[in-house]
Amino acid sequence: MNQPARPPFVAALAEAPLPASGVAWLDKARRENLDAFVAAGLPDTRVEAWKYTALRALSQRSFAAGDAQALSRDIDPALLALAGIEGPALVFVNGVYRADLSMLDALPAGVDLQPLSHALAADPESLRFTLSRHYREPGDAFARLNGAFAHDGAVLRVAAGAKISVPLRLVFVGAAAGAEIAWHVRHLVELGEGAELTLIEQHLGAGEQAHLGTQLGDVTLHADATLHHVGLQQAGAGSSLVRRSHYRLGARAQTHLHALELGGTLARHDLRAELVGDAAGFHGHGAFLPDGRQHMDIQLAIGHQARNTVSSSTWRGVASGRGRGVFRGAIVVNTGADGADAVLGNKNLLLSPQAEIDTKPELEIYADEVKAAHGATVGQLDERASFYLRSRGIPEPQARTLLTTAFARAPFESLASERLREHIDQLLLARLPA
């Protein structure tokens, strides 16, 4: 059988030179990832993980591999400011580390934060296990792509017992360039036993651009560690952003995630949490608000693999304009994960006749001492609540905005930082029609 012609997306990247590391195992892993990507191409909607996200349009575009001028792109420092939150920050522009924009001089004791490019130059061996990983599932195209091309990102290690009170920030900026480019970042985050950290991850857009960004992150929490992870995705309007985060939690480790998705034309986020230690807990909260022609796809998968593990997740979707929101929330309780307690809720508002919501909560249970529940709804604003507000003299448009904002902000009420809560409120208010 003749091989069908490669779509432009695959063809352009198949011929692109791989970043040279000078490290034999890494060069080999990159080559293998690229070969696997080229052989399988982009998944179509028959692949279950991409059922509601068609990549046909993307596959017809071609992106240049990386931005050679990333180091000299002008970025307005005001763009990088976040609600008066000071503290260490690592800034990447089009996937490349920018020392001039970053703040690394006041790192708290116990924190080792550096760009992947530096970590690789200094001690590649310590990254070997993670960076040699293969991605074998049919929908793994972007992970393979990232594995082949990513040469920068963040490497963050927190020493055992270190309780870090200052939030750390990772900022990714997609900046306008001459051509449409594809950039990739790769993270490794590791919290030692009993460590505590707040990590804020931001995606921003500077100027008109339609780049593709991919991000692949491995987050490991050793026993008793606690991570507060906040994700604010405000990528540029025309850009595509495909992210995947793997959390691996040891005994009693806790992750509290708050994720807001606002930007991008195509925004896909795969969140996978493996609860491998007894009594580990994953608490995920998020909102996605596709508007215009935005397509947002959140794929959450939580694996309970040890005893007495807990997960609770709340995601809210608001689709307006011609926006389409996709949510998959899978809970898998493996054999032996007795005492697991898992709850997942996904509520969605459909605000316009052209918008669409596709949601798929899943339960896969292989143990019997288990409590697992999920719920999902798709509907519209409560007419009675709207009526009540109008009866109090609030005009209808404002009443609707108020109710929609209240709906979308609910997952963030558990966010500890008041400043961030207020910031998210402002983002939501600015987003929703006044």
């Binding site: 459909l350 949601t359 896969e364 019997d368 288990v370 697992a372």
Partner: protein, 492 residues
Amino acid sequence: MTAESIETRADNTLLRDNAEVAEALGRNYAAGFVTEIESESLPPGLDEGIIRQLSAIKREPEWMTQWRLAAFRHWQTMPTPDWAKLKIDPIDYQAISYYSAPKAGPKSLDEVDPALLETYEKLGVPLHERAALAGVAVDAVFDSVSVGTTFRKKLAEAGVIFCSMSEAIREHPALVQKYLGSVVPQGDNYFAALNSAVFSDGSFVFVPEGVRCPMELSTYFRINAQNTGQFERTLIVCEDRAQVSYLEGCTAPRRDENQLHAAVVELVALEGADIKYSTVQNWYPGDENGVGGIYNFVTKRGDCRGADSKISWTQVETGSAVTWKYPSVVLRGDRSVGEFYSVALTHHFQQADTGTKMIHIGRDTKSKIVSKGISAGRSSNSYRGLVKVEKGAERARNYTQCDSLLIGKKCGAHTFPYMEVKNPTAIVEHEATTSKISDDQLFYCRSRGIGEEDAVSMIVDGFCKQVFRELPMEFAVEAKKLLEVSLEGAVG
């Protein structure tokens, strides 16, 4: 499982075009098979010759033969579906005999072989008594040929047609041609295509305009002979404001091989019509080591074609080694209503992947799904459902509730609901829970002197009540007993 029902319409036209070509090409062969009519069983294997023979044995008109052949040709181009959460050894479709009939061809109920009737007796379907006492007309399908139909006359007076599919093809060809394949097209899915090619018999019900069917209709299916798949095809049509309640029970004797069962059920509800379809499925589930048992691949779909129509599916699934079944409703008519009530119990090595699809197309359409899954032993039990609200389905409303109960540590209970909503005035709600029988409940029962097995059975019965309520009374009693029998040895 996606809502391919809509897209496959287009394929169907294609199939029809192909069928015409096939008709022209196939004509010269037709005569060659007439001599085969004497045979009671066709040899194992599947090709166009077998299908022509089958069609000839059943004295079908040429259009039916061509319809089957078109389905067969399409089936050959289709891949075996692999999306369900089922582990199945590859099926050798050439090792199956696609037709077997009882030796003596009975003309009326009195002529039916007493041994056959005895088998029904054991299954609790004494045709005469039960029919008379319960006022139920039974169209019993033994292997592939309908052997007895009762209460024909009474139904005929009301204008209701209730007969086997083979008779319907011969006696009511216009009706069959109009509706057959109109809900589940020949190429709808792999197993529906296979069924369309080789279906042996089944039931046909037609309730004319304004008629309420005077009694509940019932069919008892039974697989008997070894190495024969059973492929029934059921078609129920309710004209405007007509109403019918149909019961289907299935059972099979013990065999070591995995037998194949691929049925298709089509329901058509025109304006204001109301169809209630209840199933108690107790095919042989295989033994406690997972040896043998029926492979049950069923396509059931109802079409609420007219405004204000209603289709309600109720199923109690306790049998089969493998169940692959998604009774669905296409809510085309404005204000039409779809319902799905299900209890699926799996034990030992049984696997069930079952659920429903509710496709909201018309305005103000409503659907309700209540699914109760019980897994024990080393079984796997999945709910898989789709609720789809199309753009024009103003104010569509769905409520789904899926609960799973786990008995034992080695079984699996899974829930895969899909919700696709394209209309901002629709409200879709889904809720699911999974838990085991609580120790508190068990302890309470035991402290009242109830044995552990009885206590489990009571709790399971309570868990399923919401669904059992929807079953006709005698079925509800049977379903409750079936659960008890099926759960034997699940605790302790």
